[in-house]
Symmetry: C2
Subunit: 340 residues, 2 copies
DNA sequence: AGATTATTTGTAACCGGTTACACTTTCTTT
DNA sequence: AAAGAAAGTGTAACCGGTTACAAATAATCT
């Protein structure tokens, strides 16, 4: 019973304050001349009537909804949940609301989201997923939707990019393994189509290709997932039982590999040293704890959100590319071995 | 350059099809009489002009935005990221969009969110967080916002509730420990103010209170977090080195406890059997893997979303309470011990 | 056949804001 | 003092849909 949706409107406030709606709007938005006295009368009326401007109406009129969307592969992946948390925190501080979309790295889902979000007058979008072609970027541009992309480098689309030094990080990881005395270092790689996976593989290759004993068969796919890491480690040890070092393209695969190695009775780090990439929380939960190349995940998300909101507000003009540093975090899964 | 936001509107379509906007609207919504021929003319016009109705305008006019919000403590907690994923998947299938809000279990943040979301004409809300008083519920009711609550039992607010059998699950866990031969079973409890934590503690107490050797000091707080679990286990073993079984109120604390026990040189399950609660993925990543009382997390989220959308659409009338079963998953962190 | 009901469609108000434009009043400037 | 610029405010159109109401036509009922 009782009226539903009986909110007070800007016209109610205007009447109460004895001014026009335009004046109330001006007071709220502070973007035009308003007399001091008038302003305080209006503010009082707003107080008295407990008025809150309606975001939907405002969105229709101004085409700015104070909403951003984040498209990511899967919120259950701890890397992305941390990223999501960072974005949400930052957005909240700037009075923005966040819509999350899981794409599972499937282009059709992404396209669908882009379409749905455009109809909703989304102000901007953070894209942490896979496919994003020129056309999508142009469409969004045409709709006035700002864009910040993680780990992707579109050629001409004028959007900001936030990325980590993947090649460099991978090199650091492999060099670390080499410095420990590992002779036969394998790589569990992420999906071929993902640029981050490509770059980490590249770093591995760059470091190891010219060394004796290098064998392309030491690169096995692990799909960036735990189960993929398990399968990869199994296959690896089956065909190359003398592997003494593994660089996994992310921590999830490293954790999976660790599990598999344990099941096969291979001890880490004594027999095999293992290094991951990302620096997510679960890397500390395993036994032994995982050495990893840590990205500043929270910072990446926060930076992406800040950058995006800056562009939406027209504060930041030109799109920029930010490359964040990664850091080797040495833990128990890698250890100096005796030279044989 | 180029026009921004030059979308085709319903009036464009009406003109193209030679009908009025009302007719186009009727075709789109299918809620009124429309002549077959007229309808196909309109549909063709929609096709030709590549028309997509504007969600914001529709929201203003109808006060239905096709958006639901999920308020949860922290998306980085794997329990909640799985829940979030389930909600998003389900919502997407029903063409709803989801806004996520991290409350950190802080009432002020929750209140703020509720306010912000009301201004946005949210259709409904899934509440998986802590505080939610009668007043909030009434406010939302007054604004026509449907509500589904996880693990909370508001007295009169007419909202649906999804919950797990926490007391029963906790009993199962403790009985399991007892059946293994544990004599001194401790409990690492979640925050006092959370009903789930209370219930799990209750189950522990109900099972163990009347047994000889029961000691209230065996209940230590762990704040539902990994670090809390670490601290709790340390404190526990320091004062009660003869503890031989631990039931942790969630998996995160169990994982933390495991870590602490390992650092202290206490072997699991040989010296201490350890059981968690929730059934999140990381319970399988530890070494040894954690025995836990698994909740059907994904199902909880999916059910909550389905229930909510049902209520929004007016399909489900009365609010309902759903209690989901939990299941003991035996893994390596608990093992039968030799009777001494 | 006349009355009643079901179909079909259009007109225009409305949702609750923003803002272009016009107009008045109050400085500044020369 | 006259002219131009700045400050202050209101009117009304507009954003892009939904929907109450009215009116016309077709179908069904006594």
């Amino acid at each position: 019973m009782g009226d539903i949706h009986n909110m007070t409107t800007i016209r109610d406030v205007a009447r109460q304050a004895g001014v026009s709606v335009a004046t109330v709007s001006r007071v709220i938005n502070g973007n035009s001349y308003v007399n001091k006295d008038t302003e305080s009368r209006v503010r009082e009326a707003i107080q008295v009537m407990d008025y809150e401007p309606n975001t939907v109406a405002r969105g229709l009129a101004s085409k700015k909804t104070g909403t951003i969307a984040v498209i990511l592969p899967d919120i259950m992946n701890p890397f992305f949940s941390e990223l999501a948390r960072a974005v949400e925190d930052t957005a909240r501080h700037h009075k923005f609301t966040v819509i999350f979309c899981n794409s599972d790295d499937q282009a059709p889902k992404e396209k669908l989201y882009i379409q749905v979000l455009q109809q909703r007058y989304i102000d901007g979008m953070i894209f942490a997923s896979n496919t994003l072609d020129e056309e999508d970027i142009q469409t969004m541009r045409g709709h006035g939707i700002s864009l910040v992309v993680l780990d992707r480098a579109p050629r001409r689309g004028n959007c900001s990019i936030i990325r980590s030094k993947n090649v460099e990080g991978a090199k650091t990881a492999v060099q670390h393994l080499l410095s420990l005395g590992c002779r036969k270092i394998a790589h569990i790689a992420g999906p071929e189509e993902l640029i981050t996976a490509q770059e980490r593989k590249q770093g591995y290759l760059d470091t190891i290709r010219h060394l004796k004993g290098f064998d392309p068969a030491l690169i096995v796919p692990g799909h960036f997932s735990i189960s993929g890491g398990i399968g990869a480690a199994q296959a690896l040890l089956e065909y190359h039982p003398d592997v003494d070092g593994i660089f996994a393209g992310n921590d999830l695969m490293a954790a999976g590999a660790l599990k598999a190695l344990h099941r096969m009775g291979v001890s880490v780090p004594e027999q095999v040293s293992l290094c991951g990439f990302d620096g997510v929380a679960i890397a500390e939960m395993t036994e032994p704890e995982l050495t990893t190349v840590a990205q500043p995940i929270y910072e990446m998300g926060a930076t992406a959100a800040k950058r995006l909101i800056g562009r939406i507000r027209g504060e930041t003009e030109e799109p920029s590319v930010t490359e964040l540093d990664v850091q080797l975090v040495e833990r128990d899964s890698t250890k100096r071995r005796v030279r044989r």
